[in-house]
């Protein structure tokens, strides 16, 4: 009953409790602010780590791409060298075959050219033997170089001179030089008015009129003289 005068809650206690509660609140506030201060660097660190990982991944990717490209380039280089070898061998073969074909063609052409009769020279040579007044009307040369010459002359002498010239010429064979046939009795020599029609047969020495022999004559002008 002595405590009846004493209040149930002392003012000091209340103030003490209040002070304590204030202290607790201030401590908790301090802890909360400390936590928020810790969180922001943590986020930055995480972001940095992510960036670093991305960079490393990019480096690895680029390195892999480089390796792949290097491998592709090596393959292409090998393929190119293989094709180059193939091309060279084929080109050489092609050139060889073409050269052989050309050589064969050239040989044939040379053979043909050298065995070719230059009729221009033959006619010029024949014309040089003809005396004045003697005319040709027809000249036939067969594949065996047997010539048949038909023409007219003013006199027998002209024909005789011509026959003599042909006999003396080394370009014609005298053995088969002439065969005379009168038209009525089988000879080719006849008189038509004032003109004498003649028909001669002789053999041309073909080798003297080939391109090769003419070329030789041209190369050695002494022979021509």
């Amino acid at each position: 009953m002595q405590d009846m005068g004493r209040p149930l809650i002392d003012e000091k206690d209340i103030s003490n409790n209040f002070a304590q509660s204030n202290n607790i609140q201030s401590d908790s506030k301090a802890e909360i602010t400390g936590l928020s201060q810790e969180k922001s660097p943590n986020l930055l660190n995480i972001f940095s780590v992510v960036i670093l990982i991305l960079f490393i991944a990019m480096s690895v990717f680029i390195f892999t791409v480089k390796l792949s490209k290097t491998s592709t380039y090596k393959n292409k280089q090998e393929e190119a060298s293989r094709l180059e070898t193939q091309l060279n061998s084929r080109e050489l073969k092609d050139v060889d075959v073409q050269a052989q074909t050309l050589s064969d063609g050239l040989d044939i052409f040379k053979k043909l050219d050298t065995s070719r009769i230059v009729y221009n020279d033959l006619l010029n040579n024949l014309a040089s033997l003809v005396p004045q007044g003697l005319k040709f009307s027809n000249l036939i040369i067969d594949e065996k170089f047997k010539a048949k010459l038909i023409g007219t002359a003013n006199s027998d002498q002209e024909v005789a001179v011509f026959i003599d010239s042909v006999k003396q010429s080394p370009n014609y064979k005298s053995e088969s030089l002439l065969s005379l046939r009168h038209s009525e009795s089988g000879s080719s020599l006849e008189t038509i008015g004032k003109e004498i029609r003649y028909e001669l047969e002789f053999e041309v020495v073909s080798k003297n009129f080939t391109a090769s022999s003419i070329e030789k004559n041209l190369k050695s002008p002494e022979n021509n003289q």
């Binding site: 201060q37 810790e38 660190n45 940095s48 680029i62 480089k66 290097t70 084929r90």
Partner: protein, 63 residues
């Protein structure tokens, strides 16, 4: 010295370190490799063209 304080003292250095590492990676690894890849691409294109030309030449040859 509590552990919290040690953590707080290291954390500002870490992003700087990462930045330096990224710079080094970019300068030493990524940059030269990209240049090399560009050069390889040009070389590969040239080789492709060369191969096409040679194939055409081979097909043009008779033998």
């Amino acid at each position: 010295m509590p552990e919290k304080d040690i953590k707080n003292s290291f954390s500002p250095l870490f992003p700087l370190l990462v930045f330096i590492i990224c710079l080094a990676l970019g300068y030493l690894l990524i940059g030269p490799n990209i240049q090399e890849i560009k050069k390889l691409n040009i070389d590969i294109d040239a080789k492709k063209e060369e191969i096409i030309n040679m194939e055409k030449k081979i097909s043009d040859l008779k033998f």
